[in-house]
């Protein structure tokens, strides 16, 4: 067993930063959000999508990585899992020589937390190893969309820019992607990618999601299709109180009433909106349903059922009042035992475990299996194979592009390599120390080794936590179990740019959902909004999608 270096930040886990900090936006990023708008707008060029053979021509060749074999290979669309002991002494190099040439490179990336100083030991070490010379322009992840909008409207765009998909929803940014970022085809298409072995090992589905306006413009951060939002529960408290894990929507509600005690400051759950769509089998976005009709997410009865159930939870007073007011951090209420169930993405399993290990040794977090509303198996819909890209500005010199690709290649090094270890943990002795064969970050490591490099690209999705290998196993197994119930929507895996005139059509639903489940809007308001959506462009957008699917074939 050679898998070595440790990682807490695999592809899907990057969204975790959102899960704790930018709740609303992450809901859009996660595949299981109730409402997944499908991209945005470009009135001049690049409307629609590129799929099938036309897309295959644009894609880089796929050369799987052979560095480390996962203990739990990907199954049912899950991430792979590495669960065995790592041998830090036997780390391999994924790329024999430095690809960077040291040309200066400016990169703008979202960052959740306090950005490390320019020229800190971590940045220096990674630059030295990759042969790059990066100047970071880290921006607060919570307001990244606004920052990016302004930067793209200026005439000084950084050489490389990280673009998350959730900021492309209902605004004019998708057109900016086509206008401002270059076609990477000349550097990556076909066999050309083989110069960058780690990028070549990124799955083709993720690359396909990186085609914008008929050209390969993004370097993807791959995400497993089975990365559903997880309903976490406090295993330790469940065991102590003798609760059994609910198996249907009604069971959940009655358990929640039982478990809530306002007097003791304990509430059953936080806002369950994210996961309710999965429970009720609501397909996100555009899909040709079983009856052969093409529908959008908000038009399905399951959408309203999911909302109504969530509202019942709020009405019953089992949701923490701070979640109702949407203040503070639900993750903290969960670890404090003020709520017993909360939704987040797969990464919270590890981050909460690690965070509580010393302060609260009894703390146990588990994800409950998503149940179907009536108690049977759920119907889950696959999430997009890539939701974050790094892009290179149009007009960048060849040297700049090659250095940017070198940086991305370094960041995409697979588990078990020296590169991965350096990106995720920094330098031994400075950023981490090894205790019992397990790397542990030092204070300097915790403040410098945060998500800047990891945003550029990532290897095929995996879970690996050398300090808590059991968690990696549980995460992978949960995804495999749930992945068995997974379906794909008709638009799955396509990066679709909608015509600009429909850009703001769905923009009011996010707020409407928030307001409805909290009792600040009536069901009739939601229904009225749905019919307004239809009449003010939704039906026309349906025709547009029908044509698109006829032309490109269905994604499922």
């Amino acid at each position: 067993m050679t898998p070595n270096a440790a990682s807490t930040s695999s592809g899907p886990s990057r969204r975790s930063f959102l899960a704790s900090t930018a709740v609303a936006t992450a809901a859009v990023a996660g595949g299981m959000a109730l409402l997944t708008a499908c991209g945005g707008s470009d009135s001049r060029s690049g409307e629609g999508t590129t799929s099938g053979k036309a897309a295959d021509k644009l894609l880089p060749a796929y050369v799987a990585s052979t560095v480390a074999k996962p203990d739990l290979p990907s199954k049912n669309g899950s991430s792979a899992g590495f669960t065995s002991k790592v041998d830090l002494a036997a780390l391999q190099a994924s790329v024999p020589k430095k690809l960077g040439t040291g040309a200066p490179l400016k990169i703008m990336s979202p960052l959740w937390g306090t950005p490390p100083k320019d020229g800190c030991a971590y940045y220096k070490a990674v630059d030295a190893a990759a042969g790059t010379n990066v100047t970071w322009q880290n921006q607060d992840g919570n307001t990244y969309a606004q920052k990016l909008g302004a930067v793209l409207a200026s005439s000084s765009i950084p050489d490389m820019v990280v673009v998350p998909s959730w900021i492309l929803v209902s605004n004019k940014l998708p057109s900016a992607v086509n206008a401002k970022f270059m076609d990477l085809g000349p550097y990556l298409a076909g066999d050309r990618v083989k110069k960058y072995p780690n990028l070549a090992a990124i799955p083709s589905d993720s690359w396909r999601m990186s085609i914008f306006g008929g050209a390969l413009r993004g370097i993807p951060m791959p995400s497993a299709p089975a990365s559903f939002i997880m309903p976490y529960y406090r295993k330790d408290i469940f065991d102590r109180k003798g609760y059994s894990v609910p198996k249907s929507a009604d069971e959940f509600l009655s358990w929640a009433k039982d478990a809530t005690s306002a007097k003791a400051k304990v509430y059953a759950c936080g806002d369950m909106s994210w996961v309710s769509g999965s429970i009720f089998g609501a397909a996100p976005g555009w899909n040709i349903d079983a009856d052969g009709k093409l529908r959008y997410g908000i038009e399905r009865p399951e959408y309203l059922e999911a909302l109504e159930w969530t509202r019942k939870l709020f009405d019953a007073g089992v949701v923490h009042p701070d979640d109702k007011a949407r203040t503070g951090d639900a993750g903290q209420r969960f670890t404090a035992g003020q709520i017993l169930v909360f939704n987040s993405d797969s990464s919270a399993w590890y981050t909460k475990t690690a965070e509580q290990a010393h302060a609260n040794p009894d703390f146990r977090i588990e994800a409950m299996d998503i149940f179907g509303a009536d108690g049977g198996n759920p119907t889950l819909y696959a999430s997009a194979p890539a939701t974050i890209w790094s892009m290179i500005r149009k007009g960048a010199s060849k040297a700049t592009v090659e250095n940017a690709l070198a940086a991305a290649d370094f960041a995409a090094a697979p588990y078990g390599t020296k590169e991965r270890m350096l990106v995720d943990y920094g330098v031994e002795g400075t950023h981490y120390t090894v205790k019992n064969g397990v790397p542990v970050k030092t204070d300097q490591g915790n403040s410098e080794v945060i998500n800047a490099w990891t945003m550029l690209a990532a290897p095929a999705p995996y879970f690996a936590h050398p300090d808590f290998p059991e968690i990696a196993r549980k995460q992978a197994e949960w995804q495999q179990r749930m992945g068995a119930f997974m379906k794909k929507t008709s638009t799955y895996g396509m990066n679709i740019v909608e015509p600009t005139r429909y850009a703001s059509l769905s923009s009011q639903f996010e707020q409407l959902q928030i307001d409805y489940v909290r009792g600040n809007k009536k069901l009739s308001d939601v229904q009225a909004a749905i019919s307004t959506w239809r009449s003010s462009g939704g039906d026309k957008l349906r025709d547009w999608y029908k044509e698109l699917l006829d032309k490109n074939g269905s994604g499922n």
């Binding site: 909008g149 409207a153 004019k172 009042p321 109702k324 007011a325 909290r518 600040n520």
Partner: protein, 350 residues
Amino acid sequence: MSLTARSRPDGARPPGAVEEPTVAAATAGTKVRAPRRTSEAGKVPWRIRLRRDRALILMTLPVIVLLLLFNYVPLLGNIVAFQDYDPYVSSNGVTAILHSPWVGVEQFSRMLDDPLFWDAAKNTLVLFVLQLVFFFPIPIALALLINSVIRPRVRAVAQAIMYLPHFFSWVLVVTVFQQVLGGAGIVAQTLENHGWSGFDLMTNSSLFKYLVIAEAVWKDAGWGIIVFLAALAAVSTDLYEAAAMDGAGRWRRMWHVTLPALRPVVALLLVLRVGDALSVGFEQFLLQRDAVGAGASEVLDTYVWNMGIKSGDFSYAAAVGLAKGLIGVCLVLGANKFAHLLGEQGVYQK
């Protein structure tokens, strides 16, 4: 009261000018400039005036440049309200204005047809009226109260405590309120222990308007007393002594000396406030939007932010912002006129 009534500053001064010191403090600029304009401006050539005032002009120049650069030049950007502006259509956002299609007043007619805009406008006006009724008088009352405290130490401490919340950010204020008045806050917890459950003021959309007033009072009422205290400090103690000699009690002194002294300042601030009527706050509402729903919390400023910055519909947001600005100008003019009718100076004079 009739003692203080004047129609114009250069008009005949009433005898026994009770308010003299205050007027001097509040409108010193006008008083100095007014005679010059009438007596000298016509005669002294422009060039000579320039040379004479060189030092003053040089001193104001940096501020004027900054004002032009950051307040007036960006105003030109309002032109996108008549376009379907796409900032990414050209190499930068400014030249993109040249390439975006013109749509005339379409954005404005869209605004008039938009029920969400009218909701925001209604909320804004309701909040303005409530702020005027419940918030505006409080700093005056506090200033009178502070003014009546004689011991300087007590006074300084009281003032410091009252100013302090002003320096809290809205995030902090809302969090503090959530911890006290929220569903899991101190009040709710105390009531829960006494058998009353379900108290949650922070997510009650019908009481939201009063909640935001309460928050604003807590945060800014103390700060608002500064200008009134300055006005009160300018009242000559002779007046009080004279009034006391004439046998005026505490209340009569307040009625005939203190309040008349405050009147011009109150009128000035009122005019300014009315002119700013459509700006009732921003962060405060954005932060509590989800707690009470957009229906109760959306005001014009958050609406502009949501449509423009968040949804990228810059042209529409600019149109709404422009309309708001125009209405604001009309309100300033109207309020100023009204102040003149009442015999006050208002913000400016012709």
